[in-house]
Amino acid sequence: MSILKKIDLDARELEHPKPLEEAIKVLRSLEDENYFYMLHRKNPIPLIDLANEQGFCTLSKEDAAGTWHILIAKNTDIALEDLLRV
């Protein structure tokens, strides 16, 4: 597999619903060679639901500081666990 490009979004200080709006913009532009890495103060269930419904693979995990790490890829072969930085 070629080198994966990470698309970052730090949404921790964005007011609701800006994180969701920005994230959906990114989802629409995702390719097989890139993945989305989002930091959020909450676990964004609507985003994860929406991504899963569209066939993306998703992963979300909370770190010790209470920040949620959300990873989304269009390419379902990408092992998101390996890309998690928690």
């Binding site: 007011e15 619903p17 709006e21 629409r28 103060r41 269930i45 994860i48 569209q54």
Partner: protein
């Protein structure tokens, strides 16, 4: 939509369920403006039939309609409660509820006993129907947040408001002799203003202030204990007032202190938000909380001095407190729901939130709202201005009704003509 658990696509209430209550609330608001123009300054005397009619048009027709919309929307969000068959439930609630309000207003106007009976059946039946469903779902929850607990208490307060109202309408209709009428009346508006309206706003704010505006959370002591404390005070005072007169005097002072402290704390939280710029919804919150503080101050002053002007001003400030918060929530909920539903249905061409309701549109409404308030205050001294206040009230709610229609049309237009994205064409 907003919380840790979020709003899953399966839980989201149909957009029509929320919009229909916003729309009927706005229509009752326009009707309120008409009533103000017809009744003139007689609405400033709380003992007149005109004031009673306007108060119930605002509290039942406007505020309760908007709050039902917010509850249908927020119960899945804040409490994780999913109401099954929401469209059917909204129908069972809205038609008798709307008819009940109109019947009650006619009952006040004509004093026909049978109209009070009909209004009691329609309003009592419809409100208790939805209260029972909401409480049953809330009581079945395994885990409660401060907000969901507060919502339970606010809904319980609403049920007490309705029970006391039924006692009063039964007295008006001659069904009972109404020995405790004055105590029930005092309890009715105390539970309505402090138990239902204030508690619901407070409970929802515990969740949305932090989420919407990225502020530090409320202190746990406040979010955990303020709603039960307020409710406990109301219940205790109401029971005592059946035997001891003047019990509400001390309680009103404590309630005023608690609500003012909550409003101050929320205003401070809003100064701690991460984003330096404030949109119209923040200013609606700020205005509303300031109105609440002034209203409480006036309430305490009028406990000691029988000044009818200050008393009327206190009611005005309180009404504008509730309406300001309702408007703040409206401008957050309507664009989000329209955008969210269309995105969850996979529409690539879904309008962005600012295209559903532009922030400048909300700002214009803020100016209309604040101008309406100032004109109302002035009309207490310059009577003819009441007609301008009535016109502005119609404009304010007409503005809202238009936003609901516009959002609904955008939603339907996208559903009919929008392009859907799937995995295969998401990049197209």
């Amino acid at each position: 939509m907003f919380n840790q658990n979020g709003l899953s696509l399966d839980q989201a209430p149909p957009i029509s369920v929320v919009f229909r209550f916003f729309f009927s609330g706005a229509l009752f608001g326009i009707f309120s403006g008409m009533l103000i123009m017809i009744f003139g300054t007689s609405i400033f005397d709380a003992h007149t039939t005109q004031a009673v009619i306007l108060t119930h048009t605002l509290t039942l027709g406007v505020m309760l309609s908007f709050m039902f919309a917010a509850l249908f929307q927020m119960l899945p969000v804040i409490a994780g409660v999913t109401l099954t068959s929401p469209v059917q439930k909204a129908n069972f609630l809205q038609y008798p509820f709307t008819l009940g309000i109109i019947t009650l207003l006619f009952a006040f106007y004509t004093s026909f006993p049978w109209l009070y009976g009909a209004a009691s059946l329609l309003l009592g039946g419809s409100i208790f129907y939805i209260i029972a469903i909401m409480l049953k779902n809330l009581f079945e929850l395994g885990h409660h947040s401060a907000s969901s607990k507060g919502m339970v208490i606010a809904i319980l307060a609403l049920s007490i408001v309705v029970i006391l109202a039924l006692y009063m309408t039964a007295t008006f209709s001659g069904t009972i002799n109404g020995v405790y009428f004055s105590q029930m009346k005092e309890g009715h508006y105390s539970f309505g203003l402090f138990g239902w309206i204030s508690l619901l706003i407070i409970s929802i704010s515990f969740q949305v202030i932090e989420m919407f505006y990225v502020t530090p959370p409320y202190p746990k002591a406040v979010s955990s204990y303020l709603p039960p404390l307020l409710f406990g005070l109301l219940v205790g005072t109401f029971i005592l007032s059946l035997f001891l007169p003047f019990t509400w005097f001390a309680t009103d002072i404590v309630l005023a202190l608690l609500l003012s402290m909550y409003a101050l704390l929320t205003l401070i939280r809003l100064t701690q938000k991460k984003r330096p710029l404030s949109d119209a919804t923040v200013w609606f919150w700020r205005s509303g909380l300031t109105f609440l503080i002034v209203s409480m101050l006036l309430m305490v002053i009028t406990l000691f001095t029988q000044n009818s002007t200050l008393q009327t001003a206190g009611y005005l400030f309180f009404a504008f407190f509730a309406l300001s918060i309702i408007f703040a929530m409206f401008y957050k909920i309507v664009p989000f729901l329209t955008w969210f539903h269309l995105n969850s249905q996979g529409y690539f061409t879904a309008p962005m939130m600012h295209e559903v309701i532009h922030p400048k549109t909300a700002s214009k409404h803020l100016y209309i709202h604040l101008t309406t308030f100032v004109i109302f205050l002035l009309s207490m001294f310059i009577a003819p201005l009441i007609y301008l206040a009535g016109l502005l009230t119609m404009l304010s709610f007409g503005w809202m009704a238009y936003q609901v229609i516009h959002a609904w049309e955008l939603y339907q237009h996208t559903q009919k003509r929008g392009e859907k994205f799937e995995m295969g064409n998401i990049n197209s």
